[in-house]
């Protein structure tokens, strides 16, 4: 009897916690939007007009919907990979570079040949995953073998990847028929668009990966180790999981997701590799993972939300002249407000518990 009551109580508490968490996040986002509104006001714009345009142009306009999904696709993919790592306390902030390597690996093979699409597309996905994975593994080995902090290692490799990209598109991968430093077009490796929403098929991959990762994280041994590692790494190691394996594997997983995103963006949107290939997706995906509380469905919501914000902001810039950098600032402010709000809620919760406990005692 007691057991049943406890379970029911826990279930109700969990549900309350979920809605309270969503409420906190929503409130914090509103605060960030208000601050953003004040910035718009200061720059001579009309905040209501800018926000109205942002929403209508990104969600209700047909092209906006399409652009939002196109932008959200790499954010979801990269965000998922990062979230699994973050969940385990393994910080990877170099997805930008891992994405570049994924794109480079796939164009290096697909840019020259004329493989049939049936082979080219799966091969592109595989090469993308491998490219990103290998790049992340460098950071992983630096961490596990030499004790280098993963934040620093993954980040510094972004700058190295950027140099590699500049070099490759200027020399070995350069399109000989072009005067610009860019690769050949992807050719048969192109992914193509879904009928009537005109978004690349990659969006299916991204949306499909969400429930899959949700299941892996919550219902498999791997997922259990990831979650346990985040709560208490020492306990996982005490249980004889090899000390070096968890961070290495999770960094490589994040790299693979980023590399796949690199291929998807290349093959369904940009068609060539050039200096703008990663376009900041790797960094924005960090925000996506944090806002989504490192949970797959949270990542999905955050990625679509942030993509809509940016797509709308670009439309708003065309119409009102308020620069896109403002919305990037708002994105950053959203994160700051959300983490502040979550900490405040947790603190009041702890204080309430503390007071209650001392009254009981």
């Amino acid at each position: 009897m007691t057991a049943t009551t406890t379970t029911v109580g826990a279930g109700a508490r969990a549900r309350n916690a979920v809605s309270a968490g969503a409420l906190t996040t929503t409130g914090a986002i509103l605060v960030a939007l208000v601050i953003g509104g004040l910035l718009i006001l200061w720059s001579g714009g009309n905040p209501f007009e800018v926000y109205r345009l942002t929403i209508t142009e990104s969600i209700f306009a047909r092209t906006g919907w399409r652009d939002t999904l196109t932008q959200a696709t790499p954010l979801i993919l990269i965000g998922l990979g990062l979230a699994v790592g973050f969940r385990a306390g393994v910080w990877n902030i170099g997805a930008e570079g891992q994405m570049v390597l994924g794109a480079l690996a796939s164009i290096a093979v697909l840019g020259t040949g004329s493989l049939p699409a049936v082979i080219a597309v799966p091969l592109g996905l595989l090469l993308g995953a491998l490219g990103g994975m290998v790049w992340a593994a460098i950071a992983g080995i630096l961490h596990t073998r030499f004790g280098v902090n993963t934040v620093i290692a993954t980040l510094l490799l972004v700058f190295v990847a950027t140099s590699l990209l500049v070099w490759a598109t200027r020399t070995v991968l350069k399109d000989p028929d072009s005067r610009l430093p860019q690769s050949r077009v992807i050719g048969t490796g192109a992914i193509g668009d879904l009928p009537w929403i005109d978004t690349g098929y990659g969006v299916l991959l991204a949306f499909g990966a969400v429930p899959l990762l949700h299941w892996i994280l919550n219902s498999t041994r791997f997922g259990y180790i990831v979650r346990a590692h985040g709560d208490n790494a020492t306990a996982v190691y005490a249980n004889e999981e090899r000390r070096t394996l968890v961070p290495l594997v999770l960094l490589m997983l994040g790299g693979a997701f980023a590399g796949v995103a690199g291929y998807v963006v290349l093959a369904s949107d940009q068609m060539r590799v050039a200096s703008g290939t990663a376009a900041g997706f790797g960094f924005t995906a960090i925000i996506v993972a944090i806002l989504g509380r490192n949970k797959p469905y949270g990542v999905l919501a955050a990625a679509v939300g942030l993509a809509a914000l940016l797509v709308g902001a670009e439309a708003a810039q065309r119409r009102t002249g308020v620069p896109v950098t403002l919305m990037q600032t708002v994105q950053g402010l959203i994160v700051v407000c959300v983490i502040t709000a979550r900490a405040l809620v947790e603190r009041t919760g702890r204080l309430a518990r503390h007071t209650r406990d001392s009254h009981d005692g």
Binding site: S43, W91, Q328, L333, V335, I339, T340, R347
Partner: protein, 314 residues
């Protein structure tokens, strides 16, 4: 390649190395102070660029270099105060908070830059400090140009770094600072407020990072662009680890990295058989290599990144 054998070549490399090192060294010393109190500030890049922007805006508006530098320091302190309120006051995860501060800093300065100077016909420039050569000493072989043919801002910055290094070696506050970062319980038991020490260390450290950004823009370049710090904050973070939380080593590392960067520029025109992109990547590769060699023998503050919760609060 005969140029490489000439003393004049290395004299010039060292001179530009020292110039490139100053702003990074200042930010790295600031971060070191913050970290020794137990707070990891990954918002360093954002703090630097905010210092750079407000320093530039102030120097441009008033036409005064000292005012610009002061504004950079104050802006850094304000950012540091906000960061400390989050990570010390509310005990928010330091990695998450730091990353988001960097994102806000980069985007906000980019936005403010377009907004503030929208009506300017040409990109505005701030006045640069006068060069000030020390007679006789400036002609010393190898080190003469680097050490004695700089601007007064560079001398002042170098002096500040030296004073800070000395103060950190000798003062009682340093013991309290290290206690807060190594064994906060002991600092607490000795009657020092761990939160207070961490607040001060974060604010001062961020102020120095802001000053570092201002040194770059107000003291050397005279103009501002989006993302003008270009990863210097991250290099400064790497330097703190590379220098193992000791000011002398951090300064030496900064000069070494600076010289490497200067060498990269020279090599671009010297020898075309090696792609120039390799030299663009070299500072980061060397940093990674240095970290790989140095990280095993760390003496990182034991409580780095760990929020302090007094037993009465638990």
């Amino acid at each position: 390649m005969g140029e490489l054998a000439e003393l004049a070549f290395w004299t010039a490399i060292l001179a530009s190395g020292i110039r490139l090192a100053l702003s990074v060294a200042m930010a790295a010393i600031g971060e070191m102070i913050t970290e020794r109190a137990g707070v990891l500030n990954l918002g360093l890049e954002g703090t630097m660029i905010i210092g750079a922007f407000f320093g530039f805006a102030a120097a441009w508006r008033t036409g005064s270099v000292p005012v610009g530098l002061a504004a950079g320091f104050v802006a850094g302190c304000v950012v540091g105060g906000a960061f400390a309120a989050l990570v010390v006051g509310l005990r928010v995860d330091q990695v998450v908070a730091g990353l988001s501060f960097t994102l806000v800093g980069l985007a906000l300065t980019s936005f403010l830059n377009t907004e503030l100077f929208r009506d300017q016909p040409i990109p505005p420039r701030s006045p640069l400090p006068e060069p000030l050569a020390v007679p006789v000493l400036e002609n010393l072989p190898l080190v003469g140009e680097g050490l004695f043919r700089q601007t007064w801002v560079a001398y002042a910055a170098a002096a500040l770094v030296a004073v800070l290094a000395l103060w950190l070696k000798r003062s009682y506050q340093t013991i309290v600072l290290d206690a807060a970062g190594e064994t906060p319980e002991a600092a607490d038991a000795a009657g020092h407020s761990v939160a207070g020490v961490r607040y001060r260390a974060t604010i001062v450290g961020s102020g120095l990072a802001g000053l570092g950004g201002a040194l770059l823009v107000v003291g050397q370049l005279g103009f501002f662009n989006s993302n003008i710090t270009a990863g210097r904050g991250w290099i400064a973070l790497a330097l703190v680890i590379f220098g193992r939380w000791r000011p002398g080593w951090i300064v030496a590392g900064a000069v070494f990295f600076g010289a490497l960067d200067a060498l990269q520029f020279r090599f671009q025109s010297l020898d075309s058989s090696v792609p120039y992109e390799f030299f663009l990547a070299l500072p980061y590769l060397v940093t990674l290599a240095a970290l790989a060699v140095g990280s095993r023998r760390v003496n990182a503050p034991s409580a780095l990144g760990v929020p302090y919760l007094r037993s009465t609060e638990a």
